[in-house]
């Protein structure tokens, strides 16, 4: 049994403008969380907002007997706005860890992370675990944002990645253009079999990445998708994405259960 838990906020602060790092005291079961997995979060009591909201796990750590979950989120609507107003000690209902995380083959020697905006959250956790679990692996992160002030999560990435490459849409820092444009420049670095690419970000960015990786062998790249969710556990069928069959599962597939991580070549992004 892993029922919903009432969790207390341990700390919360705004990092980059409009982006909040929240640390929550969680059940010990969270220690088994895998990068790419997520949690469902809801304000305790009341109906505003009504549904729980999904957030990637940004990190898990323990101190003594206590386990902590970090989530890193951007305020985009009323749920995230309500969360951002909470202070230390406030209670949340949380459920997780949920979904299928990223697969990193032990043989992997080089990892490229392609993060668009707050899509950095699951990738940062992945970078941290790669560093811990497969030492010697090179982790290069491509981080894109609208402008230099919106580069969320950069500080931590600089500590845990071998290299961080930056792009901004307005050119205020790093490469001037999209993060896929930046990756394209470096594509020949990631030609080998022992290379893997992982990505999370807005749909147009992921679609661009899929285009860029056309012709690469299946399994080269995995992405974490975002869809509106109600249950987070595979029951409501609200969160589906169209996924190409891999022989077994295909069609309208649940992002919360079979995902949120999918091989990029299987995702049908549509128009």
């Amino acid at each position: 049994m892993k029922p919903e838990t009432c969790a207390k906020i341990f700390s919360q602060r705004e990092t980059v403008k409009g982006h909040f790092l929240m640390i929550v005291k969680a059940p010990v079961s969270f220690r088994e969380a895998i990068p790419g997995q997520f949690i469902m979060v809801r304000l305790e009591g009341g109906n505003s907002p009504f549904l729980s909201r999904p957030f990637s796990i940004y990190s898990i750590y323990s101190r003594g007997d206590d386990t902590f979950v970090e989530i890193f989120y951007k305020v985009v609507g009323k749920g995230t706005d309500a969360f951002s107003r909470l202070r230390e000690g406030a209670s949340l209902d949380i459920l997780g860890p949920l979904g299928r995380g990223f697969d990193v083959p032990a043989s992997c020697r080089k990892v490229a992370l392609v993060a668009g905006g707050i899509g950095v959250a699951p990738l940062s956790f992945l970078a941290q675990r790669c560093g811990e679990d497969i030492p010697g692996t090179e982790v290069i992160c491509y981080l894109g944002a609208g402008s230099s002030e919106a580069l969320a999560g950069l500080d931590r990435l600089e500590k845990i990645c071998s290299t961080v490459e930056i792009s901004t849409d307005d050119g205020s820092r790093g490469y001037h253009g999209s993060v896929t444009g930046l990756l394209k420049r470096d594509m020949d670095l990631y030609a080998d079999d022992d290379t893997r690419i992982y990505s999370c970000g807005p749909r147009p960015m992921l679609r661009g990445l899929q285009e860029l990786l056309k012709g690469r062998p299946p399994g080269t790249c995995q992405v974490s998708l975002e869809e509106r969710m109600a249950c987070g556990i595979g029951a409501c069928l609200g969160c589906v994405a169209r996924i190409r069959s891999d022989g077994e599962k295909g069609g309208m597939v649940r992002v919360c259960k079979e995902g949120p991580v999918f091989d990029i070549d299987r995702v049908e992004f549509g128009e």
């Binding site: 919903e4 109600a230 029951a235 409501c236 969160c239």
Partner: protein, 304 residues
């Protein structure tokens, strides 16, 4: 105090009056990690059709004030795969299993009901009549008393199992439909299904749901559901199963006091996956606190 919680629906005894509603509890297995499924009065599985259905394209859900809209479009594995892959697990849980079915023609309904009646492990059939009858130009079975009676009669004669007919609230007078399905042989009615609603993204000026409209569920609709249950209880003599926006024991008790023989918990399962057992416990506590020894002595005790 030891409270009798068992209720009878169409000759089937539920260990308590709390069921989980169709489409909100998957095929049961999804919730195995979150609650003791064997404690439920019954579980109603996701609506089943003759062939598997892919459902509507996303986005399929959007939150509303104290509720949500869904346009899942009845995605399901189809009745055959249900029997092969999902039913074996359900046979082991020790709760009553209700198969919710739908179709686009009377023949569809009949075939699904017939197939399920021959599969061991299904105790009751719940007929969702909110679907459009494609033959009759898309008018919903459930919004026309004659069509509703027709589909009920057909399912009843095809099925060896007791039949609950699930009514839609999108009608002028739900008691007319209820009386018609009662006359056609329904063993019970359940209500309400979702109210049809819509939501618009004012930035993009498009509907939030790809399907344009969707079904509204959750606490927002509870007052409407309770009113319709009360009206129906006063209109028919078969058992009424009440649902719509039940979030806690107190909500469930409102329906029982209004005369519902049992209740279903729907959207609330999404908010807290173990909520159904909290509701069972809450009802039991309410009864024992008040010295009511049998749930059946509470049902229908509204004073007006």
């Amino acid at each position: 105090m030891n409270v009798k919680m068992g209720v009878d629906i169409g000759g089937v005894t539920l260990k308590n009056p709390v069921m989980t509603a169709s489409g909100t509890f998957g095929y049961g297995e999804e919730y195995a990690d979150y609650l003791d499924i064997g404690r439920l009065g019954a579980i109603v599985v996701k609506g089943l059709s003759l062939s598997p259905r892919e459902g509507n394209p996303p986005p399929r859900i959007i939150e509303t004030a104290s509720g949500m809209l869904n346009a899942v479009g009845l995605q399901n594995v189809g009745v055959e795969e249900f029997i092969d892959k999902k039913l074996p697990y359900l046979r082991t849980i020790g709760s009553v299993v209700v198969a919710n079915i739908f179709g686009e023609s009377v023949e569809d309904y009949v075939k699904v009901a017939d197939t399920l009646s021959n599969a061991k492990g299904v105790d009751l059939i719940e007929v969702n009549i909110s679907c459009p009858n494609v033959r009759k130009g898309g008018i919903a079975f459930g919004s026309d008393p004659v069509l509703a009676g027709e589909v009920t009669r057909a399912v009843k004669s095809a099925s060896g199992l007791p039949v609950i007919v699930k009514l839609t609230p999108n009608v002028t007078d739900i008691t007319k439909i209820a009386r018609s399905v009662e006359a056609a042989g329904a063993d019970a009615v359940s209500l309400i299904n979702t109210l049809t609603g819509m939501s618009i993204d004012i930035e993009k000026r498009i509907p939030h749901l790809k399907n344009i409209t969707g079904g509204l569920s959750g606490p927002a609709i509870k007052p409407v559901a309770l009113r319709m249950v009360w009206e129906t209880v006063n209109a028919v003599s078969i058992p009424v199963v009440g649902l719509g926006g039940i979030m806690n024991a107190s909500d469930a008790l409102e329906f029982l006091i209004a005369g519902a023989r049992a209740v279903q918990v729907g959207t609330a399962n999404f908010i807290n996956p173990s909520i159904a057992v909290d509701i069972i416990d809450g009802i039991e506590n309410y009864l024992s606190d008040r010295g009511i020894g049998d749930i059946n002595d509470l049902i229908g005790t509204l004073r007006i």
